[in-house]
């Protein structure tokens, strides 16, 4: 068998290891082995890569490897546990940069057709964005960007939208120009390169620090795509496979992270183009949520408070509520049940039901007790309650004015489980449903909760 064949078979083996590695990384018990497997795959692929016939000198390679290995090893050892995400951002950036260089380097070899040019430009473009984007993300996370004109919070400078759009246009134009006449000396190449770097900065600058993990995950996905593009440029299987695996898996992971943070991927993606602000400023908007998305948020929550009302009784959902409570506790969350005195249709209605479901008395809290600490609640799950969480009771002109309520609207996120937008016993409309941080989980309370439990399986 030729060396090349062996190398290629090794690539296949490496791809298989990557696949297993990624799969295992997603499960708590196997994650560490998964990482090891994937590292093994990388080792195999790298060694196989070294056997390529066209490699004639190894000095520079050795130089690069040693430099990189030393820096990578040191950085990963020395970084503080708390700064891991920043570090990942930097590593990610260097991956993107590498793809950029690989793409660029391709131009100096054999002659180049349009397709290759296209892939090269893609590698440079995406690699460039990843490079500077990651640096900004790093800076924002470690807040070393303080003295710069760009604050670490989410801010747009005036006219940013226009600038970004112009950048984008210029980029497309340059790419086309380059592809039409590809050459390593083409100025369009440098235009693309420069624009990509700027675009990376501009895209990440307006995103708030809290969203940074999502951005890094997205850039991670980009760097995969860049590797893939580089793979096309140099006709290398393993780059394509590994790159597109990471690209696709990264998108999914980004989406999952968005959901867990109750963000929309689109908003995060295009915040540089003003979409985010738009989405947030529309008032009186009801935001329904799916059972699956509710799962992602709950899975990441560490403090959950159930607020049951008559709807829980009507749906006879007490047993599943208790079950969900237990699952959340097992998942590490603190769980409580806040009982409003008039919840239900008879005094003590909720108590009867929760006692039936065997919710320990210790987890029941009164309204007066939960309200002062409701800001610390990650998710308040309002189960078929309505009047007792109606913030309009705080407004003078409301017929319920003066009745104390459970201030779920002040929790970080509120899920409201009910079947429709109908009002409750008192017949008063509920502004909670339109709250910024409110998500409506429509449907019979029992079915909704069962659904969420199912997602946890």
């Amino acid at each position: 068998m030729s060396i090349e064949l062996i190398a290629n078979l090794s690539y296949i083996l490496a791809a298989v290891l990557f696949i297993f590695g990624l799969k295992m990384l997603g499960h708590p018990n196997t994650a560490r082995q998964g990482n090891a497997l994937s590292a093994l795959g990388m080792f195999i692929a790298v060694v196989a890569g070294l056997t390529a016939e066209s490699i004639v000198s190894f000095e520079y390679i050795a130089l690069g490897v040693v430099l990189g290995a030393v820096f990578g090893a040191l950085a990963s050892r020395l970084v503080a546990m708390t700064s891991m995400p920043e570090m990942v951002a930097l590593f990610n950036g260097s991956g993107g940069t590498a793809s950029l260089f690989v793409g660029w380097g391709t131009l100096y070899g054999s002659e180049i057709n349009t397709f290759t040019a296209f892939t090269v430009v893609l590698a440079i473009l995406i690699g460039g964005i990843t490079c500077t984007g990651s640096i900004i993300a790093y800076a924002k996370l470690s807040e070393s960007l303080g003295p710069l004109p760009f604050p670490s919070g989410a801010k747009q400078f005036p006219g940013q939208r226009i600038v970004n759009s112009l950048l984008l246009l210029a980029m497309v134009f340059s790419c086309i120009q380059f592809c039409i006449e590809p050459s390593s000396e083409s100025y369009w190449l440098f235009a693309v390169l420069g624009l990509a770097l700027v675009l990376g900065i501009m895209a990440v600058i307006p995103i708030g620090g809290a969203d940074m993990p999502v951005v890094i995950s997205l850039l991670n996905s980009y760097s995969g795509i860049a590797a893939c593009a580089a793979g096309f440029a140099i006709n290398n299987n393993i780059l394509i496979v590994a790159g597109s695996l990471v690209g696709a898996a990264g998108i999914i992971l980004t989406n999952i992270m968005c959901k867990a943070m109750n963000r929309s991927l689109l908003n995060v993606l295009f915040s540089g183009f003003g979409a985010a602000k738009q989405g947030k400023t529309i008032e009186g908007d009801v935001k329904p949520i799916s059972v699956e998305d509710a799962y992602y948020i709950l899975e990441a929550a560490t403090n959950v408070c159930f607020v049951p009302g008559y709807g829980m009784a009507a749906a006879q959902a007490q047993h599943v509520v208790k079950e969900l409570g237990q699952i959340l506790e097992a998942n590490g969350a603190e769980v409580s049940y806040a009982i409003h005195p008039v919840a239900g249709r008879m005094p003590g209605h909720m108590n009867v039901l929760l006692a039936e479901a065997d919710v320990p008395y210790e987890q029941l809290v009164e309204m007066e007790e939960i309200n002062p600490r409701i800001e610390n609640v990650d998710v308040a799950i309002v189960i078929g309650a309505n009047d007792v969480v109606n913030p309009s009771a705080r407004e003078e002109d409301s017929p319920m004015y003066g009745m104390p309520i459970i201030n779920v609207d002040q929790a970080r996120t509120v899920f409201v489980l009910k079947r429709s937008m109908a009002s409750g016993f008192a017949g008063v409309d509920n502004p909670l449903f339109f709250g910024e941080n409110t998500r409506m989980l429509f449907g019979d309370a029992k079915e909704s909760i069962s659904g969420v439990i199912g997602e946890f399986g």
Binding site: A313, A314, R345, M346, A355, G402, M403, A426
Partner: protein, 377 residues
């Protein structure tokens, strides 16, 4: 401002209008509180507890009544005692103003502002002062406990080596607050519970506490805007009796709570229906004082008709006097504190407020309550 709590005069009234805990809270608000000697004895609250809470114990009932700016009690006052009250004082108690015309008149003559606790509107905002609810709730629980104690069998199902004991069947008529709590309590004890009410919307509520709702087609029924049931026509009542006959004959325990606000209770269970029950069965009639849902029920007594006991305890919440007092007392406290202005050190009793408009019967020498006025005309 002086709040006084005279002892209850009615024989079987074990509750007390203010518990030491509420006394303490009222004093904290700036009131001074005097209670009659031994007032909480039957409800499990001692004189010491009142003293400790800051209340003053007084032996002289007459001075108490005379001094009080606010008089808090559970049951309506004796008519003779009204003349001892200070003009302009606030009298808080059950009053039964639909029927106790004389008392109401006397109150307005005396210039007393009389709040009738049963007239507190059933709105969400007023719930914390709503004694009808709080006491009915306890009554619902008590009825089941009394029935369970009386009956010669157990309520839950048990599959045992000595055979299977089927669950007792409980039938609850009227699923208001008391009825719902009765259903829930019987269900807790493992009984199989059916219930009926003329207001169709409660069907869902019955199911929400674990009961089965009996469907009887009575034609047009409904409820007033306050959520109270409308009175049935005689034909409807007859239809209802027919519809319930079978289920009553199969039931071990029947609990009736049917009431129509301001009117005598409907007579729902007739003698032949009682006789159709199994011997050993038990009926509890919560409406016994306002006329009785059950033929043959006697206030304050347990009677027996062909082996079926009919429990007619007339003051059910008083059976759990301690908790009942606590709740009634909270209601009174919430009422007072809601309208108390701490800066001005005075009560803000405006008849524009919808709660007060509902529950103040007499004020400044006049009968001011619309509902009662309408009734008299």
């Amino acid at each position: 401002m002086q709040i006084v709590v005279p002892a209850e005069t009615e024989e079987n009234e074990r509750r007390v209008a203010l518990t030491p805990e509420s006394v303490k809270k009222l004093i904290h608000l700036g009131f001074s509180v005097k209670v009659e000697d031994g007032i909480g004895a039957k409800a499990g609250y001692s004189n010491e507890e009142y003293s400790k809470a800051g209340g003053i114990i007084s032996m002289e009932r007459d001075t108490l009544l005379k001094e009080g700016d606010i008089i808090a009690r559970v049951k309506k006052p004796d008519i003779e005692e009204i003349s001892k009250l200070k003009a302009g004082s606030l009298h808080i108690s059950y009053l039964d103003p639909y029927n106790e015309i004389d008392i109401v008149d006397k109150m307005s003559q005396q210039g007393v502002t009389a709040i009738s606790m049963e007239m507190i509107p059933r709105t969400t905002r007023a719930q914390k002062m709503d004694a009808l609810s709080s006491q009915a709730n306890l009554a619902g629980y008590v009825m089941v406990i009394l029935a369970a104690e009386k009956i010669d069998r157990i309520l839950p199902m048990m599959m045992t080596p000595a055979g299977t004991i089927s669950p007792a069947r409980v039938f609850v008529i009227g699923a208001g607050v008391a009825g719902l709590q009765a259903i829930a309590t019987a269900k807790r004890l493992g009984a199989r519970v059916d219930a009926f009410d003329t207001r169709p919307i409660v069907a869902e509520q019955v199911r929400s506490v674990g009961g089965k709702f009996l469907e009887i087609d009575l034609g047009e029924t409904g409820q007033t805007k306050d959520g109270y049931a409308k009175e049935l026509s005689p034909e409807q009542l007859d239809k209802q009796r027919q519809g319930m006959k079978e289920i009553i004959s199969q039931s071990d325990i029947v609990i009736t709570t049917a009431q129509v606000f301001g009117r005598p209770a409907p007579r729902i269970v007739t003698k032949d229906m009682v006789e159709a029950m199994k011997p050993g069965g038990v009926i509890v009639d919560m409406a016994v004082e306002s006329g009785g849902n059950v033929e043959g029920s006697i206030p304050g007594k347990t009677t027996e008709i062909s082996g079926v006991s009919i429990i007619g305890v007339s003051n059910l919440p008083a059976v759990v006097a301690k908790d009942a007092s606590q709740m009634y007392s909270s209601n009174v406290y919430n009422l007072i504190s809601e309208y108390w202005s701490a800066e001005e050190k005075m009560l803000n009793l405006s008849l524009e407020d919808d709660i007060l408009a509902g529950c103040i019967v007499t004020h400044g020498g006049d009968l001011v309550n619309e509902a009662i006025k309408n009734l008299r005309n």
